[in-house]
Symmetry: C2
Subunit: 201 residues, 2 copies
């Protein structure tokens, strides 16, 4: 037995973190115990407080500490625009770009009948309630470009079009600064199929 019981328990617990295996767990545990007990204490209480108080926004399913998340609660956001994403991390990525001033809807997944993820799991009832308020003028579908992501986008598009709302899909293609020779085949074929004509004005 190389570890004492409590140490073993701590190592095991650290492995719930994504990307943390046995070696990394040991390095983390020893670092905290040897050199950063204060940090470990702060981590434990941040976890407890976070678990207790961070839930889902009643309107968009983003993380929220109150009934509404900080985006839905903001009066500066354009309620006419609704961007649909798969996960909270997608919201953060778009927020960090600083380019978008509308609201979001977080699916917390994508349609995947084989995994038991249907419209209910994605909160589509809440999504339709959002649309029923009548404020939304355009829905931007920003689900992933995987098969499930595309299927989800199609499904959501059909719902939204019933309500006479403009539906758009984020553009896929060659990333800015990306060199053609290093871009993968499916991105390239998407970039060519989705080419835009240049209007001479």
């Amino acid at each position: 037995m190389a570890y004492s019981p409590l140490l073993q328990q701590l190592l095991q617990a650290l492995r719930c973190l994504p990307g943390v295996g046995a070696r990394t767990a040991q390095r983390m545990a020893f670092h905290l115990l040897e050199r950063d007990r204060e940090g470990a204490r702060a981590l434990a209480s941040a976890l407890i407080e976070g678990l207790e108080r961070i839930g889902e926004c009643e309107c968009c399913r983003m993380f929220a500490e109150d009934a509404l998340c900080w985006i839905c609660a903001s009066v500066e956001r354009d309620a006419a625009l609704l961007c649909v994403v798969e996960s909270p991390a997608d919201v953060i990525a778009i927020e960090e770009s600083g380019i978008y001033q509308g609201r979001y809807f977080v699916l917390q997944g994508r349609l995947s009948p084989l995994d038991g993820v249907g419209p209910e799991e994605l909160g589509l009832k809440l999504f339709e309630q959002n649309l029923a308020k009548g404020e939304v003028r355009e829905i931007i579908l920003a689900t992933s470009s995987t098969v499930e992501g595309e299927a989800t986008a199609g499904y959501l598009g059909a719902i939204a079009q019933q309500g006479n709302i403009r539906v758009s899909r984020i553009a896929h293609g060659v990333p800015i600064g990306g060199e053609l020779e290093y871009v993968d085949r499916s991105t390239l074929s998407r970039a060519i199929a989705g080419r835009n004509s240049l209007e001479h004005e």
Copy 2:
């Protein structure tokens, strides 16, 4: 502001873990909040319990839940052998090899006067108390092969030799299975300088 205050606090707290930057902290926090709240709860309580109950062994400075660590407390260990290492991780590495049945002494560092690490910080008083018990017959110096590690080994060797105890240093050289052409220069020079004569029996 891309995060809510509590989320920000959790991200900040996760960064006390070694090797965890802003991106990884976000991935960890979102994973725990979205998919493994149970694991996060277990982690928080393992941290709290560990901090409260894991201290230093009174005899060897290894992590210990009681006054003595599980190695010092074991009656099966050979008290005549004392292996001196720099950190608890070194103890684990040697334990995992399964090759050593003696006891340890963990310095929790190495002599480094510029960083304010002197004999006191390495617990050398406790080390000498260990030797004074008269059980130890051989000290194996397993400090690292850095300049400070070698200096520490030299210093400890001098202390131990006063007490008429055999002092040895772990062997440095080409790792087993290592190919000469990929071994670094200082390891090679050490392997040649420290060559052993083959006796014909």
